[in-house]
């Protein structure tokens, strides 16, 4: 009798354990711990050297004077969701380190990643520029035309409401305009890939290739 329901029994047990893992949220309790466990026994020197280089680079960035930030924290990315074009990431710095909601997150190259949405004691959730709720004012660096960037149309970003007489063209850099409530002026966002007229014909829209390497996010800077 029980044998007839073996699949169901195995499914219930496995899903139960999976839900337990989800409920415990191990990545939250021990940020970065899994990385240490993987690295230490193997003495993966190459990985350590690369991490050292990255951290030195970030330390340099943290010590560097950021005209747009008065406060900067270096954080490690401990969760990305989904794995490609992440709409949301979790970092291992939280209230204890001074991270607050609406702080801006940039990559180690100083490129815009997103904005802090929720802060826990030792972790913070970040909505990236790919998230559907992302809308921010950006500027075409060369022509100084303002548009609204939306986190849509993966793997590109969409800049709407560029003026009809826009001189922007593919290859132009897009930066934050400083007109948004949270994002300072001048942060690199991406490069224009294509420009099309909007359906209404009153504006142009631009497809932007993001500058940040979302496929290799290890450490980020959080600032305000």
């Amino acid at each position: 009798m029980v044998w007839c329901f073996r699949r169901e029994i195995v499914l219930i047990v496995c899903t139960g354990i999976s839900l337990l893992f989800l409920r415990m949220g191990w990545w939250k309790q021990a940020p970065g711990a899994e990385k240490k466990v993987l690295l230490e026994p193997r003495l993966n020197y190459e990985e350590l050297i690369r991490e050292n280089r990255r951290l030195r680079h970030l330390l340099g960035l943290q010590e560097k004077r950021w005209p747009c930030f008065s406060f900067v924290v270096v954080a490690e990315v401990i969760k990305v969701q989904p794995a490609v074009w992440p709409g949301q990431i979790v970092v291992n710095k939280g209230k204890k380190e001074g991270v607050r909601e609406n702080m801006v997150v940039v990559s180690s190259e100083g490129v815009l990643i997103g904005r802090v949405i929720a802060v826990e004691e030792s972790s913070a959730t970040v909505f990236t520029i790919f998230h559907p709720s992302t809308k921010l004012s950006v500027m075409v660096q060369r022509t100084r035309e303002i548009g609204i960037l939306e986190g849509a149309s993966l793997p590109y970003l969409l800049v709407r409401y560029l003026p009809k007489d826009s001189k922007a063209q593919s290859g132009d850099k897009v930066i934050t305009s400083g007109l948004s409530d949270y994002y300072p002026k001048g942060l690199p966002v991406g490069t224009i890939f294509r420009i099309d007229p909007e359906k209404s014909q009153y504006f142009y829209l631009a497809w932007v290739k993001p500058e940040a390497g979302f496929e290799r996010l290890d450490e980020v800077l959080i600032g305000h």
Binding site: R7, L19, L22, A83
Partner: protein, 156 residues
């Protein structure tokens, strides 16, 4: 299924997941070989094994991609279970199963319990169908590989 064949398959899938995902990537979206393996096990009539393997490989995959620990294992278990009830004797049926389950898996990956979808609905649909298509293609290739493996051992 012999332990030896099973171990070989695990190593092949693990290596493929680590080394080949980058090769098959199209605009950063790569296939999940663990997922294909679960489907293949189900098609061979190994229902219980596919659920168990789904659980274990899901945990491995979550660690590999820094995902939420437990989310992929939960989805793989469900896919492994549902796959047992999906008719998949012919190649076309298997392709359809890979598309359906691949789309389900991709759509589920973009959901966060606290914030809902982390992509827009249109993008979720587009990439679910895309991932399902890639999964189906690789499932056919993998199916042929398994047939060759069994044939070469004269157990076919």
């Amino acid at each position: 299924m012999g332990i030896r064949i099973f171990t070989e398959q695990f190593l092949v899938v693990l290596l493929a997941q680590i080394l080949l995902t980058g090769v098959f990537k199209v605009k950063l979206a790569g296939p999940v070989f663990f997922f294909l393996w679960i489907l293949m096990l189900g098609w061979q009539g190994l229902g219980v094994v596919s659920i168990l393997i789904g659980f274990l490989t899901g945990l491995i995959y979550d660690v590999l991609v820094s995902g939420t620990l437990g989310w992929s294992s939960l989805l793989f278990c469900i896919v492994g279970y549902l796959n047992n009830y999906f008719p998949a004797d012919k190649v076309m049926e298997r392709v359809l199963a890979a598309v359906v389950f691949g789309a389900f898996y991709t759509a589920a990956l973009t959901v966060d319990a606290s914030y809902g979808l982390v992509w827009q609905k249109g993008e979720v649909f587009k990439f679910s169908v895309f991932f399902g298509g890639v999964s189906a293609l690789l499932a056919v290739i993998y199916s042929l590989f398994l047939r060759y493996q069994l044939w070469s051992r004269k157990k076919y």
